[in-house]
């Protein structure tokens, strides 16, 4: 080796030793006791008895109370900087959760989770169908033939009622089972990496409405079998004055049951009816076909950057993201009804069906091929130019750019019953929102800030009634803590929305740019999400802590929307919420809490009942705003919620503790109507309408009481009781409910129902729990 080579080696060795020696020496500086591993195990076993569990699926809507026992276990292993934790909660229940965490502090954290969440809709729903949970709901041909042979609507009601009385019952529920892995790497701080992946399986059935004509609604169980895969990768750098985050998110939704074919109870053979208004057994299809939610996919790239420590205590943040949503499911045929074939009569006399509507080859395209690009950009500048003043400027741009092509359909099949030769194209709506905000915060007094703000929002739409819409928002807010025990907040916001409304736009778009004479929509109606609107909202809040042990707070929220330029549609909307809350630590052993809230909602709509070229027609017969066929509804909801509880240490220190809490919610809804009364010749609804007094009325009690005894530091016994009483009344869905509704004269009233409406319950859970930690 030459002298130069030896020199390089020596220099390199000095360099390496001088770098790693101090690092390695620093690594030796660990207190010896922290390197000792510790293991902690917490176990909990609960045994419970439950009464009236199956009165209503509402009681276990998102949870499980299996009679018997279940357990929770947490095992924690810690050695120095390393932690391994395994958690199992509600083991063997429908709402169980498992999590494994492996973490090296300052290096990485890995979480692996399995989570199961139920969502129950109904118990013991009656179903005539076989194949519940699949994409094919079938009936026995004998049943269909028998019902098709009905002699009258009254006879039909009698026949189907007897079948339904002997029908099987099904529980309708779905379960989400999610596997998730989250990894965060901070070892190279300020560079950090995140990777998240999840796979969710959702399975079950859900109440769903099927129909075969205006006189034939059949409630069916929608099969749910979804797989969703989501992945998110992110890299970020954070060290003053910079913060940058780049992420990519992928989401794939797959529906394993694309379509639902279900049998028509009232038809064994396909037929086509001219109008689909005929009685169910007289005409219509033998089966129906619904295209369930299509598979879709989304990719999103996002970049966020923050530049801090600029002059005048300023900082600049910017976010940009781009996403693409796609859906390319194969299209199903227009219908499964074999009677709707070339030459068959259609809904328009003299215009027969042009092709075999049940043949996919008759479709103009075979795949959906739809795409939306989503772009968002935000820029925000915050600054404190003066000691007492803060400034915020923000610009936001969001674009839902629907790139889908319009597909021209020569017509459609109404309810699988009849071909309607009405050409129409799909309408790929899109929108763009741009907003600009300026906010000034002034410290006007000690611990008091006055905020003044203005925001302008421009919305541009494609293929909707309001192509260009401007919203102006003005805000003033006062936040003050004049005393250490008193906080007051008040805020008022006023907004105004304005835009030119052209109700014909969606119809013209649907007809590929051609004008439509007399669109079926009431021309005076304004859809409230686009209509001109004046909005006022007020918030008042006070929190008082006169003692360290006592906190009282209260708030009032008031909101009002006025749609002054809407002759029809939503006219106005009011909301007032009053709330009070109290927390009091009575003694070092006893603490109490209580709350009360009252909410009042009111909304009014105006509409018109009319038939084309008939009574109430706004184009021909009644072209003004006034008509005897007009009607107004006034919907009110009043809600009260109150609750309270106490926690008491009966034996110190934490040896014997008791807790009780109770909540009560009451909701009363009502709808009143006003409509002038004429005759059948000049009034499409010639009667004095009577309102509904019970609209989603609820009475809900929850009482929770527990007594906990600590035998030792690690061993505790708990006994408890949970009592819930839920009552639901609704004039439209529960009052007078029957599986086969009939008219006053006993005739079939157009519906075959499973009985999945909300039901009340009165359930009690008594449980005992043993917890042991070692």
């Amino acid at each position: 080796m030459t002298r130069r080579g030896k020199g390089f080696i020596l220099g390199g060795a000095v360099l390496l030793v001088s770098i790693f020696l101090p690092y390695g020496w620093a690594q030796e500086e660990k207190p010896s006791e922290e390197a000792q591993p510790t293991v902690t195990v917490q176990t909990e076993v609960t045994a419970a008895a439950v009464s009236n569990l199956r009165d209503s699926a509402k009681f276990t809507e998102y949870r499980a109370f299996p009679p018997g026992s279940w357990g929770d276990v947490t095992v924690r292993y810690r050695r120095g900087a390393y932690l391994l934790e395994a958690l199992a909660k509600n083991v063997a229940r429908d709402d169980q959760l498992f999590r494994l965490t492996s973490q090296r502090f300052g290096w990485f954290k890995l979480d692996l989770t399995y989570d199961k969440i139920p969502h129950r809709f109904a118990f013991d729903a009656r179903s005539l169908f076989a194949g519940v949970g699949t994409g094919y709901l079938t009936l026995s041909p004998r049943l269909q033939s028998d019902l098709q042979a009905s002699l009258s609507p009254t006879d039909l009601a009698s026949r189907v009622s007897s079948y339904l009385a002997g029908a099987a019952t099904v529980d309708e529920a779905l379960f989400r089972k999610t596997f998730q892995a989250d990894l965060k790497v901070v070892a190279w701080d300020p560079f950090r990496l995140t990777a998240e992946a999840s796979r969710e399986k959702r399975q079950g059935t859900r109440p769903f409405g099927g129909n075969f004509g205006f006189g034939n609604v059949v409630e069916i169980p929608e099969p749910i079998d979804y797989d969703t895969t989501q992945v998110r990768l992110a890299a970020e750098y954070g060290r003053k004055p910079f913060f940058v985050n780049f992420s990519y998110a992928f989401s794939d939704f797959a529906n394993n049951i694309d379509t639902l074919t279900w049998a028509n109870p009232y038809r064994a053979t396909d037929s086509t009816s001219p109008t689909a208004y005929l009685q169910s057994y007289l005409a219509g299809p033998a089966t129906g076909l619904i295209d369930l939610y299509p598979n879709n996919r989304a990719h999103t790239f996002s970049l966020t950057g923050v530049l801090m420590d600029l002059p005048l205590k300023s900082r600049l943040s910017a976010t940009a993201s781009f996403g693409r949503l796609t859906q390319n499911d194969p299209l199903v045929p227009y219908t499964t009804n074999q009677a709707i074939r070339r030459g068959a009569p259609s809904g328009v006399p003299g215009e027969p069906v042009p092709f075999d509507a049940w043949d996919r080859a008759s479709l103009p395209v075979q795949q959906a091929d739809l795409r939306v690009d989503v772009t968002q950009v935000q820029l925000m500048l915050t600054s404190k130019p003066l000691r007492f003043a803060r400034l915020r400027l923000k610009y936001n741009f969001y674009h839902w750019d629907n790139k889908s092509e319009q597909i021209h359909f020569p017509g459609y099949v109404r309810m699988d019953a009849v071909w309607e030769p009405e050409p129409a194209a799909n309408v790929p709506t899109g929108f763009k929102r741009q907003s600009f905000l300026v906010d000034v915060g002034l410290d006007v007094w000690k611990s008091t800030t006055l905020t003044l703000g203005y925001r302008f929002l421009r919305t541009d739409r494609v293929f909707r009634e309001v192509a260009e819409q401007d919203d102006h928002f003005w805000k003033v807010a006062l936040d003050t803590t004049p005393l250490s025990w008193l906080t007051l907040r008040a805020a008022y916001e006023r907004s105004q929305r304005r835009g030119e409304y052209d109700f014909r736009v969606p119809f013209i778009a649907s007809h590929l740019g051609e004008e439509v004479e007399r669109p079926p929509q009431l021309p005076f109606l304004r859809k409230y999400d686009q209509a001109n609107r004046d909005r006022d909202s007020v918030l008042l809040m006070a929190a008082v802590s006169p003692l360290d042990t006592l906190t009282l707070s209260g708030s009032v929220v008031y909101g009002k929307d006025d749609f002054r330029d809407s002759p029809f549609g939503l006219l106005d909307d009011r909301r007032t919420v009053y709330s009070v809350d109290a927390d009091y630590t009575l003694t070092e052993r006893v603490s109490l809490f209580a709350f009360y809230s009252r909410e009042d909602f009111r909304s009014r709509i105006r509409a018109r009942q009319w038939v084309p070229v008939g009574v109430g027609d706004p184009y021909v017969r009644e072209t003004g705003l006034d008509s005897l066929s007009n009607w107004t509804s006034d919907e009110k909801d009043k809600l009260h919620s109150l609750g309270g509880g106490l926690q008491a240490v009966l034996l110190k220190p934490q040896k014997l503790t008791a807790s009780v809490d109770y909540t009560y919610s009451k909701s009363d809804g009502a709808v009143a109507f006003v409509s002038p009364v004429g005759t059948a010749a000049n009034d499409a609804n010639p009667f004095e309408p009577v309102g509904f007094e019970q609209v989603d009325d609820v009475r809900f009690h929850v009482l929770n009481a527990r007594l906990r005894y600590a035998v030792t530091r690690g061993l505790t016994y708990t006994v408890g009781v949970l009592w819930e009483k839920f009552r639901y009344d609704d004039d439209l869905s529960t009052v007078g409910f029957v599986y086969i509704p009939v008219t006053a004269t006993g005739a079939f009233n157009g519906a075959t129902l499973m009985g999945t409406q909300l039901r009340g319950y009165n359930a009690t859970v008594v449980y005992m729990k043993v917890s042991y930690t070692f």
Partner: protein, 321 residues
């Protein structure tokens, strides 16, 4: 350049680098700092609660415990110890300033209190990166309004659960989550931060996504579409029809159907129909199931228009297939 020169430069560079590493490893001689043990003499319960949190993990070099312990956040303690009549150990001979109380009774301004937390957290995660200019920051909310390192609660919250913290100010939401139709918040399967990031986001209402709809689609991705036949208000904003915190109406709807639907649809024939009972029907004791039709009772519009979020069926333009 000669090899020996390279060696010299390399060695000097290495020594300088070593020195900087050594200097970085060892705590600097801090003026006014008394050390955590001094704090523990009077505030042991606070110390213990702090050590239960991620802030107390010494092995993570980003944490207060890896720096000056309690004094990382509360400031040098020499003056405080002296005021309390205690002996100031070690290098506390010179004063470093008053101790900083950071809780609700702090005499510091909100901005000063927040600066303590943000000195680390502002650049540690995207979650807090947009705090400045966020609604909570603009309304002078302190970090310690919601968080407490010494509280002993998950996520260092000031109260045992997120819902209790958030509903301290957002009281109307407390009633909403107890309503008939609700997300599984009171069952503990979701929480406020399932949808919101209270520290600041690009979206209104502190929604932790690029838009309200994109947040909803994270769990309800079957409604993302795009669909062949769209229901335009669905695409623009889920809250046109739904109230996500809770509703007395089924499916989190903002109003009762069919009246919700009739707010926008007064088309000819059945959409604009007045679905009400007549006095004669009431006098006869008829229910809606007897006196009205399937467009009014049970699920009313949704009895037939079941694909309300959009349809992919060629015959589905009325969202009934």
């Amino acid at each position: 350049m000669r090899a020996s020169t390279f060696i010299c430069i390399g060695s000097v560079a290495g020594l300088l680098l070593s020195a900087s590493v050594l200097m970085a490893q060892a705590p600097p001689p801090a003026r006014g700092y008394v050390g955590t043990e001094a704090c523990r003499e009077c505030h042991d319960s606070y110390y213990r609660s702090y050590m239960q949190t991620s802030h107390g993990i010494k092995e993570d070099k980003r944490t207060p415990e890896a720096k000056f312990g309690c004094e990382t956040c509360h400031g040098p303690g020499a003056e405080h110890v002296r005021e309390q009549g205690g002996e100031v150990p070690g290098n506390g001979a010179a004063s470093g300033g008053a101790i900083q109380v950071l809780g609700p009774k702090s005499k510091l301004s909100v901005e000063e209190r927040n600066a303590v937390c943000l000195s680390c957290h502002e650049t540690m995660t995207t979650k807090v990166a947009l705090w400045h200019g966020s609604p909570h920051e603009s309304r002078s909310l302190a970090c310690t309004s919601c968080h407490s390192i010494h509280g002993g609660h998950p996520k260092n919250l000031a109260k045992p659960t997120e819902v209790e913290v958030c509903t301290t100010c957002h009281q109307s939401v407390k009633a909403e989550i107890h309503k008939n139709s609700h997300h599984p918040v009171r069952e503990g399967r979701m929480t406020c931060t399932s949808c919101h990031n209270p520290h600041g986001t690009v979206t209104d209402k502190l929604i932790a996504a690029n838009s309200i709809n994109e947040k909803c689609y994270e769990c309800h991705m079957e409604k993302r579409g795009p669909f062949l036949w769209e229901h335009p208000p669905v695409t623009e904003n889920c809250t046109t029809c739904h109230t996500p915190h809770g509703s007395s109406h089924p499916k989190l709807l903002a109003a009762k159907t069919p009246f919700l639907c009739q707010s926008c649809h007064s088309n000819s024939r059945h959409p604009g129909t007045l679905y009400a009972l007549s006095p004669q029907a009431v006098a006869q004791g008829l229910s809606a199931f007897q006196a009205l039709n399937n467009r009014a009772f049970y699920r009313n519009c949704l009895n037939c228009h079941s694909q309300i979020h959009g349809s992919n069926h060629p015959s589905g333009k009325s969202l009934g297939r």
